[in-house]
Amino acid sequence: MRRALVLTAPTLFFLLFLTMLDTDHLRFMGAALSGRDCPDADMKEIEKTVKLYNKILSDFYASGGNPSLINHMPATKQIKHEVFRDLGYVKGVEKILVYDMASITTHRIRLTGPGRAEAQFYEEWNYLYQNLDRSPKTRPIGFGRGFRYHLVKEQGRWLVQDWDPDVTVPDLSKKDFKF
C-alpha cells in the first residue's frame, strides 16, 4: 500500500500542481486533446472582452478622448497607446468621430497557446465626423468588415493585444444595420 502511494504520489502531485499553477496550460491542452478550438468558458470571456473593448473604444471617440475609462479597457498598453494616438490625431484636425458598433458576430475563437487566443469577428460600424461644436461634418457612413483580434491573458483577465482587418471572415451580417 505504502509502496503504491509513493509510486503514484509524483503523478498525483503533478496533476494537483497543474490545476493550481497552470490552469491556462491545462485548458489549452484539454482543448487540443479534444480537438476543440476553445473551451466554452474562455470563448464567452473572449467575446465579452472584445465587446467591452469596442464599447469603450466608441466611448473614447464620442467623448472626444475623455480617458476616464482607460483602466477599464481590456487592452494592452501598446493598443491603448495606439488608440490615444488616433484620438489625438482626430482632435488635431478639429473633428470628433462618432463611432457606433451596429453588430458583432463571432466567426471563430481559438486558443493559440496557454493564455493566448485569436478571435475572428464580423463587425458592422456606423460613423460620422462632427465639428468641435458637435455640428455634423459628414453624413453617416456604414461599413462591415472582418477583424482578427489577438488576445493574451494577464492576471486571469483576457486583454486585446493587437488586431488586424481580416478578409478571410465571411460577411455574416443578418440585417442591414448600416446607413
Partner: protein, 304 residues
C-alpha cells in the same frame, strides 16, 4: 522520543527510505514528465516551448534532476559503476533537453545593402539565447540569373547564393528570398516632405504586412501590383481611408497628406538558426548504454 535516524538499530534501512532510494522512484518521478511531453508531441497544435513553460513541469523536472543526482551519488558510494553510468547518462540526456530549450534560437531577419543582421521580423528563442545579432554586413544583393548575396564579416568578403548558407559562431545564416523595398515619401502639403522610408515588403505575413509612419496613426498596407505600382490600403483605427492601386511616383492624397512610392532597392530575407551542440545527448546516451550493458552482462554472469 521517536528516532529520526534513517536506519534502525540493527543497521537496516527503513522501508520508506529503501523505497525512496529505489529505481522505481526514478520511474515514478519521470512518469508525469514523460506523459506530458508525449501528449504534447502527439498534438499538432502544441508548441514544445509552451509546454515547457508550465511551472509544474519545471518544478517536476527540477525534482527529477535532484532524484537522479541522489541516485547517481548513491551508486558511486556503493561503487556500482553500472548505476552511476545509468543515472549519470539520464542526467546528461535531461541536460541536453535543457540546453536545447534554453539556448534555442531561430529567426527571420531582413537586411538591405549596407545593413547588419540585427533586424529580426520573427524569432523563437530560449531564455539563454543571448545576443543574436550577427556582425555580418550585406554588401550587395544580386538579382540576376543566379541570385546571390555578398556579405562581409570583419576583413572577409564572400558571396552566398540564394538558399546557400554560411556559419558564424554556431549560427547558420541562409538567404532564403530576395524581396523589394520601395521608397515611400510622405508630404504634408505640396513639397513639404515629412517622411521618407524604404519599406521592406513581405517582411510579415500579408495580413500583418503594414507599416506605420511615426507622426501619424494610419496603418498602411502595401502589396505588389504587377510592374506598374502597388496596391495600397490605408486604415485609421477600423476605418478604411483609401484602397486603391498607386502607380510608381504618383502622389496619392489622403487626409491632407500625399503618399508616393518609387521603385526601391532589393532586400534579402535571411533565415538564422543557432546550432545547439548535441554532445550532452551523445555522451548521456553512451553512458546509459554502457551502464545497461554492464548490468546485463552481470545478470548473465549470475545466471539470471
Amino acid at each position: 522520543m521517536a528516532s529520526t535516524d534513517k536506519t534502525t538499530r540493527n543497521g537496516n534501512s527503513l522501508p520508506l527510505v529503501t523505497l525512496v532510494c529505489s529505481p522505481a522512484v526514478v520511474v515514478a518521478v519521470a512518469l508525469p514528465v514523460v506523459i506530458w511531453v508525449t501528449f504534447a508531441c502527439c498534438l499538432d497544435r502544441v508548441v514544445l516551448a509552451d509546454l515547457f513553460s508550465a511551472r509544474t513541469f519545471q518544478i517536476h523536472l527540477s525534482i527529477l534532476v535532484l532524484v537522479l543526482l541522489a541516485h547517481a551519488g548513491a551508486s558511486l558510494r556503493r561503487r556500482s559503476i553500472a548505476g552511476a553510468l545509468i543515472y549519470g547518462g539520464l542526467l546528461l540526456l535531461l541536460a541536453q533537453g535543457l540546453i536545447w530549450y534554453g539556448f534555442r534560437f531561430s529567426g527571420v531577419a531582413g537586411a538591405g545593402s549596407g545593413d547588419q543582421i540585427v533586424d529580426y521580423h520573427q524569432q523563437e528563442r530560449g531564455a539563454w539565447a543571448g545576443d543574436t545579432r550577427i556582425p555580418a554586413r550585406v554588401e550587395a544583393i544580386s538579382i540576376k540569373e543566379q541570385p546571390s548575396v555578398v556579405f562581409s564579416l570583419g576583413e572577409k568578403r564572400f558571396t552566398v547564393p540564394l538558399h546557400g548558407s554560411f556559419n558564424w559562431e554556431g549560427y547558420r545564416v541562409s538567404p532564403v528570398a530576395i524581396e523589394s523595398a520601395p521608397l515611400m515619401t510622405l508630404e504634408k502639403g505640396p513639397g513639404e516632405q515629412i517622411e521618407a522610408l524604404y519599406i521592406k515588403m513581405g517582411a510579415a505575413p500579408p495580413e500583418r504586412d503594414f507599416f506605420l509612419v511615426k507622426t501619424l496613426p494610419h496603418r498602411i498596407y502595401i502589396a505588389p501590383d504587377g510592374d506598374r505600382g502597388l496596391r495600397i490600403r490605408i486604415i485609421r483605427d477600423k476605418i478604411e481611408i483609401v484602397s486603391t492601386t498607386v502607380v510608381w511616383a504618383e502622389k496619392l492624397p489622403y487626409e491632407g497628406h500625399y503618399i508616393s512610392f518609387y521603385r526601391g532597392e532589393p532586400w534579402v530575407r535571411l533565415a538564422v538558426e543557432k546550432k545547439v551542440s548535441f554532445f550532452s545527448a551523445y555522451a548521456g546516451g553512451g553512458m546509459l548504454l554502457a551502464g545497461l550493458l554492464i548490468l546485463l552482462s552481470r545478470k548473465r554472469a549470475n545466471g539470471c
